[in-house]
């Protein structure tokens, strides 16, 4: 096969010498789920998760506009697109997409983690404080905490499962939602508010490192772009932390009731 670059010289031809068997790529075990593919899956699902967090934060901040507006927003979420779409349609699409992303993200992370441990061998590497070594080390831990928190959060404020949800939890009806009352009731319990505040710290650490690795996983180069993305990742994390954690604090000190 010949390839002709515009050099004005004679055609360039491929001349790959026959390699000894141990060096032949065809003889190598090709991974069915390659690491670079799993990393790309983690990057894309992570970005979808971060976009959802941004939207969720925007919705959450409506709590400061008062009970009526917040409940109206919660009601709208379940009835958006009506009458073209059935009730809860958009919510269910979001739920399926997010659940899929979470599963893909966790499965990829677990496979990569196992492969990393295997490739490390029995002697661990001493951390010398690489650029993002601390955050990278924390990723599996913060990830597991976030997965558990998602279960708690859904049981607390969506399903109203006792004893995780508050005693006064009200299911939404066809005509009204009680998101505001449920939120206040949940955050009025100091242990519940504490869980939310601590989790927002862990979540923001996870997101800040995640958004930074996304650039590299999807193939972006360069020191300057890295600096830009570290800033964007950090800023997003700070918004998530301050915006979301302010709500349980506001409930505890009585600004919201």
């Amino acid at each position: 096969m010949s390839v002709t670059p515009d050099t004005g010289a004679t055609p360039v031809t491929l001349n790959k010498p026959e390699l000894p068997p141990q060096f032949r790529v065809s003889a190598r075990r090709q991974k069915r789920l390659p690491n670079w593919g799993l990393k790309a899956v983690m990057a894309i699902t992570g970005v979808i998760g971060a976009l959802f967090l941004a939207m969720h934060l925007f919705g959450n901040l409506k709590v400061y506009t008062g009970a009526e507006h917040f409940n109206k927003y919660a009601y709208w979420l379940r009835h958006v697109g009506e009458p073209l779409l059935p009730a809860n349609a958009v919510v269910w699409v979001l739920r399926v997409v997010l659940a899929g992303c979470i599963v893909l993200h966790i499965v990829s992370a677990a496979i990569l983690w196992v492969r990393g441990r295997k490739a490390r061998g029995k002697f661990s590497a001493k951390r010398r404080g690489g650029l993002r070594s601390f955050e990278a080390t924390l990723m599996p831990l913060t990830g597991i905490c976030i997965a558990l928190f998602v279960v708690f959060h859904i049981a607390d404020l969506t399903l109203g499962v006792q004893p995780l949800a508050s005693e006064t939890f009200q299911e939404p009806t066809d005509t009204a939602a009680f998101a505001y009352q449920n939120l206040i009731a949940s955050f009025s319990r100091p242990w519940s508010a504490a869980i939310y505040i601590v989790m927002m710290v862990l979540l923001s650490i996870h997101v800040s490192h995640g958004l930074y690795t996304v650039v590299s996983d999807l193939g972006a180069l360069g020191k300057r772009l890295r600096a830009v993305l570290i800033t964007i990742g950090g800023a997003t994390a700070v918004f998530i932390l301050l915006g979301n954690a302010s709500i349980p604090i506001a409930v505890l000190i009585g600004v919201l009731s």
Binding site: V3, A9, N15, N35, G116, R120, K126, T213, G219, R226
Partner: protein
């Protein structure tokens, strides 16, 4: 100066290995760590004991043959310096120094401080070469490569393949190495013709033996040639890019 050395001894690949303690006296602060091992070996041979096996070749930081972990750090305490150029002045007199082989799952210890780093060679053999018959030499001005582009390519081509990045990585990944090897070829016009098949094959060979990258950034701290972290993003880009381009 005098140093107490805890050195990894391992008779062969099946031996489990252990640390052995030695005292070495009358050392000069200007000696390299490898010269200190030479001094110790003379001492051991004089006592009729077996010398410590270790790798070294050029002793001027360009061949990539030497590589030991010193106090848990690949090559030694000075950043961006190979073992052969690490001077003893980094240690205070009477210090205890632990010396072990470059640790990684993909680097089995063959004897004492000697590891088999053939996995890196197998990555290169999979595609880190230019296999094009270039025919007669083109006109010197036919393909212009700017000075900045050449310098950037050389930043990545500087990799000497010592394996320190793999040993420093908490995942035992060779992504900095492979990224450097792929990137310098991609930046130059003739080698770039094969970039897609190169990325496919080299990444397959890399993932067969080494771990995934979690962007800890530990590798760049020990790299003797200061290969930039951009090599990692570049590797991912080349591999993803090869999905969208036909291979030659």
């Amino acid at each position: 100066m005098k140093l107490t050395l805890q050195i990894w001894r391992q008779a062969g690949d099946t031996d489990s290995g252990h640390y052995e303690t030695f005292e070495v006296d009358q050392l000069d602060a200007g000696m390299s760590i490898l010269e200190m091992l030479d001094r110790l070996n003379e001492q051991l041979l004089h006592e009729g004991k077996e010398a410590i096996a270790y790798d070294s070749e050029c002793r001027e930081s360009i061949c990539g043959t030497c590589g030991i972990n010193v106090n848990g750090r690949p090559h030694g305490p000075q950043p961006h310096v190979t073992s052969c150029m690490q001077r003893l002045r980094s240690f205070h007199d009477g210090a205890t120094v632990r010396i072990e082989p470059l640790r990684a799952g993909a680097f089995p210890v063959k004897k004492d401080l000697v590891t088999d780093r053939g996995g890196l060679d197998r990555i290169i053999a999979a595609g880190g070469t230019v296999s094009l018959m270039a025919g007669t030499a083109p006109d010197s001005d036919a393909i212009s490569v700017g000075h900045d582009q050449v310098e950037r390519a050389l930043d990545f081509a500087a990799c000497i393949g010592c394996g320190a990045c793999v040993s420093a990585c908490p995942n035992g990944a060779a992504v900095l190495f492979t990224g450097a090897k792929i990137t310098h070829l991609t930046m130059l016009p003739i080698p770039a013709i094969e970039r897609n098949e190169r990325a496919t094959y080299m990444v397959a060979a890399m993932e067969d033996e080494f771990g995934p990258c979690s962007l800890y950034g530990e590798c760049v701290l020990v790299c003797p040639q200061n290969v930039p972290l951009s090599a990692i993003g570049s590797l991912n880009k080349e591999r993803l890019r090869s999905l969208f381009h036909p291979r030659i």
